[in-house]
């Protein structure tokens, strides 16, 4: 269980190793506080989406309707996010204020649909799926926060004109993900 959790955070980090959720990674990581807000919302939605789609998938498998997975999951996630938004707005306005603006964005975040599909691919049971999703979300947060720090530095650097903006951001992301490559084998080394 701990192995799954650590693998999801370090060796199979969604952003830096699997290329899921790059849009928010590049778009929202400019400032530390927005990066944290977005990440918390992602962890929340990922856990929720996994909890809801797992039983649905069981039904689909039983009825031989696996080919409907993509359509059903994206609709369920979209409806879920909308529902959570309304519930939060009504009952926990303080949390809504903190997370609300990020929620609609997350519907089209490929990390959320990705984690749901990966859980099925890896044939995890319910508990393992939940651990994997939450670990993936935490990994997302780690990458976002680290990179927000890097980018705040990058802003004040003197870089060649054609590399300014997005290219330099991507090259910085390359170096950050290089550091994450160092974790490969660590989890297997400890638990294997």
């Amino acid at each position: 269980m701990i192995a799954i959790f650590l693998t999801a955070i370090l060796t199979e980090n969604f952003i830096l190793c699997q290329f899921l959720g790059i849009c928010p990674f590049l778009g929202v990581s400019k400032k530390l506080n927005t990066a944290v807000g977005m990440s918390v919302a992602v962890i929340f939605v990922m856990a929720l989406a996994t909890a809801v789609t797992y039983p649905i998938n069981q039904v689909l498998v039983k009825k031989d309707l696996e080919y409907l997975q993509t359509i059903v999951f994206i609709l369920v996630i979209a409806a879920l996010v909308q529902f959570v938004e309304i519930v939060l707005k009504k009952f926990i306005p303080s949390l809504y204020k903190a997370l609300g603006i990020y929620l609609p964005l997350i519907t089209t975040n490929c990390a959320v649909l990705g984690v749901v599909l990966l859980n099925i691919d890896k044939e995890f049971n319910f508990l393992q799926s939940m651990v994997n999703s939450i670990g993936g979300g935490v990994g997302f947060m780690v990458a976002m926060i680290m990179f927000a720090g890097v980018r705040e530095r990058l802003e004040s650097c003197d870089i060649p004109k054609i590399l300014k903006g997005l290219p330099s951001t991507l090259i910085a992301a390359s170096l950050v993900s290089l550091s994450f490559q160092g974790f490969s084998g660590v989890v297997d080394g400890i638990f294997g």
Binding site: G27, K30, F83, F180
Partner: protein, 252 residues
Amino acid sequence: MAENKKSLRYEFTKGIIKENPVLRLVLGTCPTLATSVSVTNSIGMGIAATIVLICSNIVISALRKVIPSKIRIPAYIVVIASFVTIVQMLVKAFVPALDDALGVYLPLIVVNCIILGRAEAFAGKNSVFASALDGLGMGIGFTFALIVMATVREILGSGTFLDGIDSLTKLFGVTSFTGFHIFSQPIGLMTMAPGGFLVFGLVMALANKVAEGKGKPKAELKGCAACPMAHSCALIDTDASCDNSGRESETE
């Protein structure tokens, strides 16, 4: 008539270079980075995404007067998800090797911002034929950017070019050509995540340089401005009117 023809040609060609979805509009970065490991994967991904893009553009454009604007995003997503499922089944049936290579990224075409973005920005407002051309152009532009990146990454990272292409060409009865082997001690890092970010950054810098030479503004990250959900996102200063109201009334 002549003008009409010209504008149709513009809808087709703009996606390839001028408004290249990956390099100029910065859309669909996730599949770009993930599948540009080998040229074969890129071609497969490009074709799959192009088919989905054309079909969903045609259907959405044909239905644009029927779909109420308030629930258009969920409606678009259903149309796109249906075509993605069809393409996924076709790939599984005819090119299983590609299905293995692309893995989870094949169903993830659903959330590829290029497709929802084009539906929202173009197909929802224009005629069927123009939308089909727009989809084809954007799809070719996407494939082109993927192939450029994959060429660099595959040659440096695996020492091969077009490796495993026979899994695609055998659909046309050609199996003899299985790719070039260029050298045997490649830089494996280029096929991994850091290489992906690095090559993407450099290719984009090059695209900026070319665009600058033509006096065009360089590709800018407008946060998530290009993303179809941008309106409902308070991170950028757009009025939160259209999408938000649409999405809220969906569940009311």
